[in-house]
Amino acid sequence: MKIKASALGALAMAAVVTAALPGAAQNDQGEKPSFLRNEYQAVKPEKANPLTELISGYFFRSRETQALQDDDFLNPGFLWVEQGQDLWSKPEGEAGKSCADCHQDAAATMKGVGASYPKVQPDGKLANLEGRINLCRTQYMKAPELKYDSDPLLALTAYVRHQSRGMPVKVAIDGTAAPYFEKGKEFYYTRRGQLDFSCASCHETNYGHYLRADFLSQGQSNGFPTYRLKWQKLGSLHRRLEGCVQDTRGETFKRGSEEFLALELYLAWRGQGLPVETPSVRQ
């Protein structure tokens, strides 16, 4: 696994260096992102959504970055998707089971699943795909949990979510999910850190504006896990959230924490109806 993971990293690096040179950030002296060129597809939000139109982060990125995502052979995120496909049928743990032993062909059984997560589990707790995969591992495979943002967990998460590519995000926020939704919403609008920013400060009030070397998007989560050029690898939504909180010069929460899970649910709802893009490519 280790050897495979590092080889994967090297491959990914090579793919990106040749395909997209740094400096993809654009400003008004260079190329304008498609959002500013008015060349984008928006999804009409549900009534309660504070946004007037839902726009994937894809339309805030440069042509080069978009081109990387558009071509499955160029898209470095597929290295993880393919690794996930291998892991899917690999038995692990004391029970000697693989994912495929219970779920058979992911193309059929996982279709739509990634679009509906995070989801409240039978135990009443909210889980995202990463959490659900680890729950399967500990509960049914009798295998240890995979570390957050480890290559195998990213790979399985990306593989599962990829089976919903093109399908609209559709999470449940009622019933047992309601308290998590409210908690996530509260997080979204709470200012934090020395800079006193809430998520809304950048992604609701100011999307479409330039923030130094970057272009503020709506902070939609439909492309995660995403291949981020800055990371030179695939990464989880929680890794990105951690970075966002750090950008407020604030103390962050742990990846997989209840706070980030609740926020993940709320964010998914803010993008309810956007197509899943996993694996997306972002700056």
């Binding site: 400003n27 934090r192 850190g193 100011n206 504006h209 330039y210 923030l211 604030g250």
Partner: protein
């Protein structure tokens, strides 16, 4: 037109000045008094007329602090007439010529804490040490800029006449 000059903000500004005066029993800004290391300052309407320090602000140092990412980082959100800085932001108003639009006292209040002018502003308060939720541990209890840096930035902004 910058938000701070929009006529629609006039009533808000008046209300804030009133509130500040009513709550603290005088025109001393909240926050400043409770953080030991901060110099107390007096808000007079839309302005903090008196400098925070006895040393006049240095516009050259102020320009540097405006670019510094760990410091003021004004460039992240504002356009400034600084050469070789291609990635300027447009979240906040364009600051070219701001020295002709606002006087030093008005600039000082906005650098100290723009939320005293407009509570909905996303602009961070640069001279405020407490009242933040979960600030990074190494930054807790500290303002973004020192009193002298505030004066430097104000001197720099005041120099932007066109």
């Amino acid at each position: 037109m910058p938000w701070c000059q929009r006529p629609s903000h006039q009533p808000v500004r008046a209300a804030i000045a009133f509130l500040i005066a009513a709550v603290v029993g005088g025109p001393v800004a909240p926050g400043a008094a409770s953080a030991e290391d901060l110099v107390a300052f007096v808000v007079d309407g839309q302005s903090v007329p008196k400098p925070l320090t006895g040393t006049p602000g240095d516009p050259v140092a102020g320009a540097k602090a405006s670019v510094n990412r760990g410091g003021g980082n004004c460039l992240a959100c504002h356009v400034l007439p600084i050469a070789n800085q291609p990635f300027q932001g447009d979240v906040g108003p364009d600051l070219r010529g701001v020295g002709a639009r606002l006087n030093e006292g008005e600039l000082r209040l906005r650098v100290i804490n723009a939320k005293l002018v407009n509570p909905e502003s996303v602009m961070p308060a640069f001279y405020k040490a407490d009242g933040f939720l979960m600030p990074r541990k190494d930054l807790a209890g500290k303002p973004i800029l020192t009193a002298q840096e505030v004066e430097d930035v104000v001197a720099y902004l005041a120099s932007l006449k066109e």
